[in-house]
């Protein structure tokens, strides 16, 4: 990154020509950090526009300016524009309950969606652990009725989480699994689970879904049906930090298909509300996928998954990401 500036010295206003090689180098740098090509392009374009005509003094001046402009641009993209406080959202939902109007409390529902093997079920379990620590009562709905072992995987997690809660004295609310085996309609199971949660005073329902490729229309329609039937409070897209240029396509198509296929006569379709970026611990400082994902959706990264144990769940630290992306 530092090598890009040797050609500019004077204190005349920066021209497009001055900036071109710098921006090209910047784009290369971002791509090496695993930012998708088209996103790297757009970000550099924006940085270029913000700098053309600026008068900056000397070699050091240019460098500081360009670095600052890139840092600002990345920070803007990564900074959430909507609330990421899930605990507050869950509490608000609980507070909404008015016994004068209805006799049962409605649980807060979240569904985890994404392509195959990214870490949906594992990170759903981490989110569950976190909710238990905050004393919520959680029901996990096993709605991956396709992949071998998917139900048993959640059964193991629920068993572990119950034990952990007991041992640590947290999670007084408790956790349960709602499952109906394999081969059945996921949307229906989710619906049953939510009504079971209502009957048994659960605060939150976490809905696990099967992984699917974003181009697989029948599977995307089935997912949209689950969303349309159950209208979850949060639809969380789970994507891995390892993903390259596919990040763009995955998010665009999940969001679009969900919106398109979940719309009903009375209600517009629902899209992705936020992201959970997994396997953060496997990419060193190549954290560009986080930038690609937020650029494409304009939605916040709610959590970062950084390992394979229940405590490996973090909030995104924007400053850290910016630093990693700028580092040589």
């Amino acid at each position: 990154f530092t090598g890009l500036f040797s050609r500019i010295t004077g204190s005349k206003p920066l021209s497009k020509e001055d900036l071109a090689p710098i921006l090209a180098g910047m784009k290369d740098h971002l791509m090496k950090k695993n930012v998708a090509v088209d996103i790297a392009d757009k970000i550099c374009e924006g940085v270029g526009e913000s700098l053309v005509g600026k008068r900056v003094g000397g070699f050091g001046g240019v460098k500081t300016h360009v670095r600052g402009a890139l840092s600002d641009a990345i920070t803007r993209v990564l900074t959430p524009s909507t609330s990421t406080d899930l605990l507050l959202a869950v509490r608000n939902k609980r507070a909404e309950f008015n016994p004068a109007i209805s006799d049962k409390r409605t649980p807060y529902t979240m569904t985890f969606v994404g392509v195959n093997g990214v870490g949906k079920s594992t990170n759903l379990s981490k989110v569950c652990f976190w909710l238990l620590q905050n004393n919520f009562r959680v029901l996990i709905a096993a709605c991956d009725t396709f992949r071998s072992g998917a139900v048993e995987q959640l059964r193991v997690h629920v068993r572990n989480l119950s034990l952990l809660a007991e041992q640590t004295g947290t999670g007084k609310g408790g956790v349960e699994l709602y499952e109906r085996g394999y081969g059945k309609d996921a949307a229906g199971i989710a619906k049953e689970a939510i009504s079971y949660a209502k009957d048994n005073e659960f605060d939150v329902v976490l809905i696990d879904t099967a992984g699917r490729m974003q181009d697989n229309e029948p599977l995307m329609k089935a997912l949209a049906k689950l969303v349309a039937v159950n209208n979850p409070d949060k639809i969380i897209f789970v994507g891995e930090a390892l993903v390259g240029n596919e990040a763009t396509d995955q998010l665009t198509k999940f969001d679009r298909s969900l919106k398109e296929f979940s719309s009903t006569a009375g209600r517009p379709g629902r899209g992705i509300d936020g992201m959970l970026v997994t396997k953060w611990d496997t990419v060193d400082d190549k954290v560009g996928a986080a930038l690609s994902m937020t650029y494409v959706t304009g939605k916040p990264i709610l959590f970062v998954g950084c390992g394979q144990t229940y405590t490996d769940l973090r909030q995104l630290r924007v400053a850290h990401v910016v630093q990693a992306l700028l580092s040589d």
Partner: protein
């Protein structure tokens, strides 16, 4: 078709080339720029792309300087196309022959790779593939870490009618792997596939465990299973796996999606290891055999490579 978009882009660039009146440096640069950006969008490693670009340039230059084009543009076009084709093939062909399971021999195959990349699914597919070709095949589940791992193997192997070995109570993967392989060797199985947990280079203990499993089962071939959607982290991870597990083959999974597999292709170049299969779906038979030249010519939409290579 797999990689269709990339092929279309590169073809478009070739078509562009045949429309320019004179094939000079500028035309070559424009072509290379287009090819390079198509490769970058497919996640091919940034350095590899730069490398490919300069190698093609040097080759073409040398050919023209030696008069191979006989001063004709049409010959120049062929030289350029062939240089690019060859470099693309080199990307996916390290020129190493992968191990082939032998009849009447207990061939031990061990699957390794990053978390969630498709090892367990691929193990069953491989067993089905070799079983169909007359080799008595089975699976050993040496993943004691992932929740529900043994259930996954049990269910998918049962569906595929493939014998399997594993345990709900044993927590040491090395011991399970050794037990399973020994049992199946005694029973005269010919392909014994050992499935392992997902791991990554940043956790050295996990890598150590992989080395120990390898020492216990002495695989005839270790296979790296790699997700087609991986980006720029592919090279470092693949290199680390190569160093510790010395895998002899790569299987790229999830090629049925939109991903172009450029990251996985970069792993080939980084480790000089051949791809043997592509995973193209979640079902038992969703496994395609891989060979470099047909792959690239298919990618570029060229039916008849021979005709194309003629110059």
């Amino acid at each position: 078709m797999v990689l269709a978009d990339l092929g279309r882009r590169i073809n478009g660039a070739f078509a562009q080339l045949s429309r320019v009146p004179v094939i000079d440096d500028k035309a070559l640069d424009a072509l290379l720029k287009e090819v390079a950006s198509a490769l970058l969008e497919s996640d091919v490693n940034v350095k590899l792309v730069a490398n490919l670009r300069s190698k093609v340039k040097a080759k073409v230059k040398a050919a023209i300087e030696s008069g191979a084009d006989k001063g004709k543009d049409i010959n120049r076009k062929n030289i350029i196309q062939k240089a690019i084709f060859d470099e693309l093939v080199l990307l996916v062909d390290p020129g190493v022959e992968p191990y082939k399971p032998k009849k009447n021999h207990p061939n031990v195959i061990m699957a390794v790779g990053l978390q969630g990349n498709g090892k367990t699914t691929t193990c069953t597919k491989l067993a089905v593939y070799w079983q169909k070709r007359g080799l008595k095949s089975c699976i050993v589940c040496a993943d004691t870490f992932r929740a529900g791992a043994f259930d996954q193997t049990r269910q998918s192997a049962t569906k595929a009618k493939i014998p399997y070995f594993g345990s709900y109570t044993e927590t040491d993967p090395v011991s399970i792997a050794a037990q399973g392989v020994m049992k199946f060797k005694k029973e005269k199985f010919e392909v014994i596939i050992v499935d392992t947990s997902g791991r990554h280079k940043q956790e050295s203990e996990l890598f150590q465990e992989m080395v120990q499993i390898g020492e216990a089962v002495k695989p005839d071939m270790t296979v790296l299973v790699l997700d087609a959607s991986i980006g720029q982290a592919a090279e470092a991870q693949a290199k680390a796996f190569k160093e510790s597990a010395d895998f002899g083959a790569i299987i790229v999974t999830k090629m049925d999606g939109h991903a172009k597999g450029g990251g996985a292709i970069s792993a080939v170049a980084a480790t000089k290891t051949p791809i043997i299969f592509l995973g193209v779906g979640e079902h038992l038979y969703d496994l395609d055999k891989f060979s470099p030249e047909p792959f690239i010519s298919k990618l570029l939409g060229m039916g008849d490579i021979q005709g194309f290579m003629d110059h």
